[in-house]
Amino acid sequence: MKKFLRSAAVAVSLAVSACVFAACGDEPAPPPPDNGGTDGWYVLENKTVQNVDTTAEYLYNCMYLKEGAVSWYEIDYTGMTEQTGTYSAEEDKITVTIGIRPYEFSYSDGVMSYSGKINKKNVTMSYRYSKDFVLPVAEGGVSFTEELFGEDKSENFYNYCPSVMMEGETMHVWYCSNKVSGNVTDYVGYRKGTLNASGKWEFSEKQLVLGPGEGGEWDSRHVCDPSVTKGDFTLNGETYSYLMAYLGCKTSNNCCNEVGIAVAKAPEGPYVKVESANPVANWYLSPDFSANKWGYGQPCVISSDGAGKVLLFYAQGTAVKTNTKVEEWDFSDLDSPLKLRSAEVREKNSVNAGGSQDCINNADFAYDPVGKRLWCIKEDFPYPTDSGIDWIAKTNVLMYADLGEDGLDRLFGSEIYSWNKSGVLQPAGNYVRAHNACIVTDPLGRTVNAFRMPVLYTVSEAKTAYPDWNAGGQWPALHTYRIHGTVFDI
């Protein structure tokens, strides 16, 4: 803009001069230059939301202004959004209008700056003109909300119960899967996702990183429901950075489940089971033991100190209740793991999608250390029975508990905390179930975004949609278990 004004002023003065020197002849003023003062690419320099710096959440965030039209691109792990609109420029202001929403940017020295409310939050943004910027384009990949990966559905493989850790533009996903088509034996699978320039995810091939134990061992039938955290753990003189908690069992009737741990030096393993300590949640030695009750399982681990101390959450199904326990363990020396304290997760104001009081079961947790909030996504009871499926949840509730200055310590204290429902996860499209969900966290189990909660979950189609499925049993639905992502605004 200033370039244009200076040019115009020069044109005027030239015209005046010409008039004076040419004794005021008919020479017209030279035409102004093209409007190139503001057009071009503007790249995000800084963005804050409620005073929280969110700049690093974007892979790319930029605007292209050209002759009154604007294209605004935001690319992050959830994909690419492109908004088109118009803009108008004045000397020190550029107004970008997307739909009916105007955004007034102040403009100075090639920088557009905004300060105002967006979606009820105080937002500041600054974009700098970048002459040589080129927005990269990448082919391929899947968007965060699509089916992320999986075998061809002509076969009988299931992918469910994900656990996710985000490290920069890499997403580590561990999940339950079977090894042989049509055989229901749970293994822990792993895939590494890489974010491409278009905001899509490209996943590695499936690796089975944990399998059932030898015959007769506590986890000899199934290993599943993985949850992984990063830290500093030693076992038999070796140092490991990744600790996985998982459900293991030696039964085939969904009873007597237990929780164990394994460690690895890399997300993809190899994983070493901590056999000296397993199972760390021992159902058979529990005072609640019953041979025909569910037991312990569906663990979630988050780091409590960034090193060897870990919070271990797990569900318990006994004769009298179904709820979730939390224990703090010192796993820094896995040759001598130490349970430091334990409690039951309070359920005050925990509700299902319909608003009825509900227990906390099959839950995943994440901690927001800034807001001192513990986030939880849990499945809803009662299970519905439509579509031929009565063994998994249809909806899940995302909720949070304000823990206050005590933070995670409050989980073990006497001061009551209560839950606040934030959102509901439900199936969409041709899926009839949304179940076994997890919150996308950083390596320590912390939330990755102050205002958005990314979640991975498992979908299922109706069993009744495949009346002639040869495999029978649960396979007409089981073979459709796949993992998708969604994002909640919080």
């Binding site: 015209a15 005046v16 102004p32 004045e90 409310k117 967006i118 104001n349 209560s418 606040n420 429902k421």
Partner: protein, 379 residues
């Protein structure tokens, strides 16, 4: 737009300079064309592009009306503020009530209980606060949550409705306890004020919503000293739940009384209410599809004995709107005098909200505007 004007201006200057040289500098540049006079609009104000007007409260103070409503401060942003316009009447063809400039009466405060402000109601009276006298009282609902839950109700005072409003306290007067009653409930909202004695005996009607539904309640205030309401428990009555039986139109198992505005006919000993129909629409926006006008004998509010309950006077739905165009009718109010009183034997002016459906307009929030019905009681 501005750039073209600037260029045009420069051209004029350049030509003007040239002309000066040719004619020995006797001419002066033409004056710019003056902007057109503002157009006078009669009738209820219409929200501009990217804005909404909703949840109104309309009172008549002599020959002047005051229209209080919620609107957004930022275009296309859902950042509620309470606004007010003064209305005056002109006789004549095509004339009528015209509402003047919008003034922002009240805003939320970041980080406080009322960060997200909701709806409001006002009455005239005689109030003191911090040794100053005020003749107007406003009750407003607000919440610290950004998701329309856990509303509580606070008060503000002013010497004139379109003057400066002063919040009375840093805390709400009628507080919703989310820990006890649920964090996902709407809470205490839609305050509606009646000045019972036209001095300072104030009745604050409001809707109370928890997991069990939406119910009408009220508390009575001795508001001579508004500040004392927060320090002297004797100045605030206990809460009373209004009856929710009678000819209440609705489809719930138990009759609900959401989003109601109240008016008082002191001479007849009756209370009138206009409320949203319940349940709300299943498709977005999940607002009411009808509004209903009701009345009840005042003494029934004070008794646990079940009387006749509410008499249903009139229900309006899309068929009553112009060309049947509006499928959402909600957030209505009854035009009352400045004290919240009416004469129930006379025609009543009802102001209500309409909006587009989400399936027809993804920006439906910014299509919310006010319409009016007139109810004429049977002779």
């Amino acid at each position: 737009m501005k750039m073209k004007k600037l260029f045009a201006g420069l051209t004029v200057v350049a030509l003007g300079v040239t002309a000066l040289s040719l004619v020995a500098c006797n001419d002066t540049p033409d004056d710019p064309t003056p902007p057109p006079a503002p157009e006078t609009v009669y009738g209820l104000p219409v929200a501009g592009t990217g804005r909404y007007i909703k949840d109104s409260d309309l009172v008549a103070d002599g020959d002047t009306r005051y229209l209080l409503y919620s609107t957004n401060e930022t275009p296309a942003e859902n950042d509620n503020v309470i606004a007010i316009r003064r209305g005056t009447f002109e006789e004549g063809e095509g004339k009528g009530w015209k509402y003047g400039e919008e003034k922002i009466a009240l805003t939320g405060e970041s980080g406080k209980w009322d960060e997200n402000i909701g709806t409001a109601s006002l009455v005239k009276g005689a109030f003191t606060f911090e040794n100053d006298e005020y003749s107007w009282l406003m009750a407003y609902c607000a919440t610290a949550q950004a998701n329309d839950t856990q509303y509580s109700i606070g008060l503000a005072v002013a010497t004139s409705p379109d003057g400066e409003w002063k919040k009375v306290s840093e805390t709400p007067l009628i507080e919703f306890d989310a820990d006890v009653y649920g964090s996902t409930s709407v809470g205490c909202y839609a305050p509606s004020l009646v000045n019972l004695d036209k001095q300072n005996k104030i009745r604050v009607f409001y809707t109370y919503a928890d997991m069990y539904g939406h119910f009408a309640k009220f508390v009575d205030l001795d508001a001579a000293d508004v500040g004392a309401l927060y320090t002297d428990e004797s100045k605030v009555s206990g809460e009373v739940q209004c009856p929710n039986h009678g000819q209440i139109a609705g489809g719930d198992a138990q009759a609900m009384f959401p989003n109601a505005d109240f008016a008082y006919d002191a001479a007849a000993g009756k209370v009138y209410a206009i409320k949203d129909y319940s349940p709300a629409a299943a498709t977005k926006p999940n607002y009411a599809e009808r509004i209903q006008l009701l009345s009840i004998e005042e003494e029934e509010l004070y008794s646990v004995e079940l009387g006749g309950g509410w008499a249903g006077l009139r229900t309006w739905d899309f068929a009553d709107t112009e060309d049947g165009a509006w499928e959402r009718l909600y957030g209505a109010c009854i035009l009352s005098d400045a004290y919240g009183h009416i004469d129930g034997t006379k025609a009543m002016e009802i102001i209500y909200n309409v909006c587009e459906l989400e399936m027809d307009d993804e920006n439906w929030e910014f299509t919310q505007n006010l319409k009016t019905f007139v109810y004429t009681p049977a002779a």
